[in-house]
């Protein structure tokens, strides 16, 4: 029997948040026009960049730590199936239940059924990327279950009927006056004299959330890591709200991408050093919660771990792109990205913004659904330099551009760009044709006024909208070279 490998399935359409409504350039155009947004972002990213740089500079062995992080991830991915089975065995042995979810639809159904079985109509949530990726809150809402975000920034986003715009600081696009207004409008029972003083805002959120923690029967979380050897799941956070969710309710449901598994505690140690310094610029994050199955009389008495694929095995299948799965969601690459700093996270359309989003989302959904993202970078390389697990984001961006161009060629859709590139490659592969092309280019001199060109027809008008182009010179270098007295090579 013969079989053809058709590729691993991608994240399904119509559910979750991995695709935008419009291509990146169009979304960026709108974001760039919002001056308040650009100020908020510029200020916030500059502050966090500085903090990270100082925290990292304290460690003499930072480069070795990064290399260790990269090596552990690569080795783990190479035997991911085995590590996941070990994890399942360990969690089950300690009284937890493990569920395998092929995609967002399955994961949402599993979690919804689990919540329904408890009879609860409200769940508290720990900030989690995976549950945003699959659109869990919307799925629960459709089943009549309210999900309450308990991370302060997520709460701001949820109350404002907004979308998160940063992995770590979901409300980075909001300043404190905007936050006060959101609280006043949407937080039940809030003090009408609330000011925009950070302490007062935090206290208002605290009062609101305490009531939720004390009544919730079910909590839903994500996971930063899961240690296969013991079945221990880990969440790191800053506020302690996650700790409340993870300990107070009777039932805990954790949704975790399959790439989050690490083999041993020794491996975990490396990431617990890399993550806080890269993300918040702290030596250690304030709260690190770890739990192993169920402990009688202490914490949730029912624990479910949902292992989510949703396109991840498709990423794993591509040797040139798979290291995108090594990401520990520290968001350092967002904070240094000159594109992200100016457009913010919403322009990326997916729950994963910035450089990591530009390589992860198109791989999870398949390139055709996020075709503009790999081009949303000037390839400046700042992301690669800060990534704690050394993901070569620029090279993966270039790889995905290649995948996109080839997918388009396979679709036999001729494009003006493809034609231009083919002609240019043909002209440049032979010196005689190249010289001819240079002569044609010099016709461009006719467009110039005092040595510069101020307006060109599309698509080059995209250049001249904001900048001039020098008129081609009267003499190319090679013409000048031929005028020199010289030997045979000249």
């Amino acid at each position: 029997m013969t079989s053809t490998f058709l590729g691993m399935p991608h994240a399904p359409r119509g559910v979750g948040q991995l695709r935008g409504d419009e291509p990146f350039p169009a979304a960026a155009h709108k974001a760039l026009a919002d001056r308040q947004l650009r100020r908020n972002l510029g200020h916030a990213t500059a502050t966090i960049r500085g903090k990270r740089a100082r925290a990292v500079a304290e460690l003499a062995d930072w480069e070795q730590l990064r290399q260790a992080g990269e090596a552990i991830k690569a080795a783990t991915m190479a035997r991911l199936d085995e590590h996941l089975l070990s994890l399942e065995a360990a969690v089950t042995a300690r009284g937890g239940h493990v569920h395998w979810a092929r995609d967002a639809v399955e994961a949402n159904r599993i979690v919804t059924d689990l919540v329904r079985a408890t009879g609860a109509t409200e769940v508290v949530k720990v900030k989690s990327m995976a549950t945003q990726e699959i659109g869990l809150n919307e799925a629960l809402a459709a089943a009549g279950i309210t999900a309450v975000e308990t991370d302060l920034a997520e709460l701001i986003v949820q109350l404002g009927h907004d979308k998160p715009s940063h992995i770590l600081v979901p409300a980075i696009h909001r300043n404190r006056t905007e936050i006060r207004d959101i609280f006043l409008r949407h937080m039940p029972g809030v003090d009408p004299d609330l000011t925009d003083e950070p302490r007062r805002l935090a206290m208002a959120a605290r009062a609101h959330l305490r009531a939720k923690f004390l009544t919730a029967k079910v909590a839903v979380s994500g996971a930063n890591f899961a240690v296969a050897e013991t079945g221990t799941v880990t969440v790191v956070e800053s506020e302690g709200n996650g700790r409340m969710c993870l300990t107070l309710p009777d039932t805990l449901i954790t949704v975790m991408g399959i790439e989050k598994v690490v083999p041993t505690w020794t491996d975990l140690e490396v990431f617990l050093q890399l993550l806080p310094r890269s993300s918040t610029g702290e030596r250690m994050n304030p709260y690190t919660s770890t739990w192993t199955g169920v402990t009688a009389g202490d914490g949730p008495q029912e624990f479910h771990l949902v292992l989510l694929d949703n396109g991840r095995t498709a990423v794993l299948a591509d040797s040139a792109g798979r290291s995108a799965l090594h990401c520990i969601r520290c968001s350092a690459c967002l904070n240094v990205c000159p594109v992200y700093e100016r457009t913010g996270g919403h322009a990326y359309g997916s729950v994963y913004p910035g450089p990591i989003g530009a390589i992860l989302s198109p791989q999870l959904t398949g390139i055709e659904d996020n075709a503009s993202l790999p081009y949303a970078s000037s390839l400046c390389g700042a992301c690669y330099d800060v990534c704690p697990v050394r993901i070569d984001i620029p090279s993966i961006l270039v790889h995905l551009r290649g995948e996109h161009v080839e997918a388009r060629e396979r679709g036999l859709l001729p494009s003006a760009e493809g034609l231009a590139m083919a002609v240019a490659a043909w002209a440049m592969a032979a010196p005689r044709r190249f010289r001819f092309a240079e002569r044609l280019l010099r016709l461009g001199r006719l467009l110039g006024r005092s040595g510069r060109i101020r307006r060109l027809p599309p698509p080059l008008s995209a250049w001249t909208a904001a900048r001039d182009l020098p008129a081609p010179p009267a003499q190319t270098f090679r013409q000048w070279w031929r005028t020199r007295p010289g030997d045979g090579t000249r």
């Binding site: 790999p374 000037s378 551009r401 161009v405 240019a424 010196p431 020098p470």
Partner: protein, 246 residues
Amino acid sequence: MRVALFATCLADAMFPHAARATVTLLERLGHDVAFPAAQTCCGQMHINTGYRRQARNLVRHHTDVFEAYDAIVAPSGSCVGSVRHQHTAIARDAGDQRLAARAAQLATRTWELSEFLIDVLGVEDVGAHFPHRVTYHPTCHSLRMLRVGDKPLRLLRAVRGIDLVELPAAEQCCGFGGTFALKNADTSAAMLADKTGHILATGAAVVTAGDASCLMHIGGGLSRLESGVRPLHLAEILAATDRSRP
């Protein structure tokens, strides 16, 4: 040492003075410079825009043209970055292991100008004279692909008469990024506006860099602002003496 100039297609066609200055400088330092006339383009634009199949012939051609030389010098961090970090992979992708091995060899002998001067020739003071206020923009590929570090600045500091002023937020990209400037023109322009703002704040009369492409972008922004600040390639400053000025 047989030194070949890889002018790069952009400098050849659009910024010949940068390539000419490279020749002037290397000859002043006592080297014979060859210009293999068959050279065209390293293929970086094709590779970075996703046209890797179309770039194969360019990689092969580039390797054929320059293989005979001991050192290949280019006035571009970006093109050298492509030769060093992309050519081998493109050849391997094409299933041509022999070409991949040849490209990998060539990559070890290909140098960006400031690297060649400092790492290969061991000179910092190239005998230049340039009495102007200058600010230096470290282009992304020089900085992060080639890791040239402060080599260009060491060369500039040794220039007589120069008033070298530090560029704020120097390591931020100017927003060029090849076809990025066209495909994401709005974001690119926003990045450029910040870069030109920082350049103007220095009060410099000249902005310099090791890449004609980024200078074309920055220069285009400065020209649109009617700022009067001149973009000049690093090679042009290093080639300048009190008798010949760019």
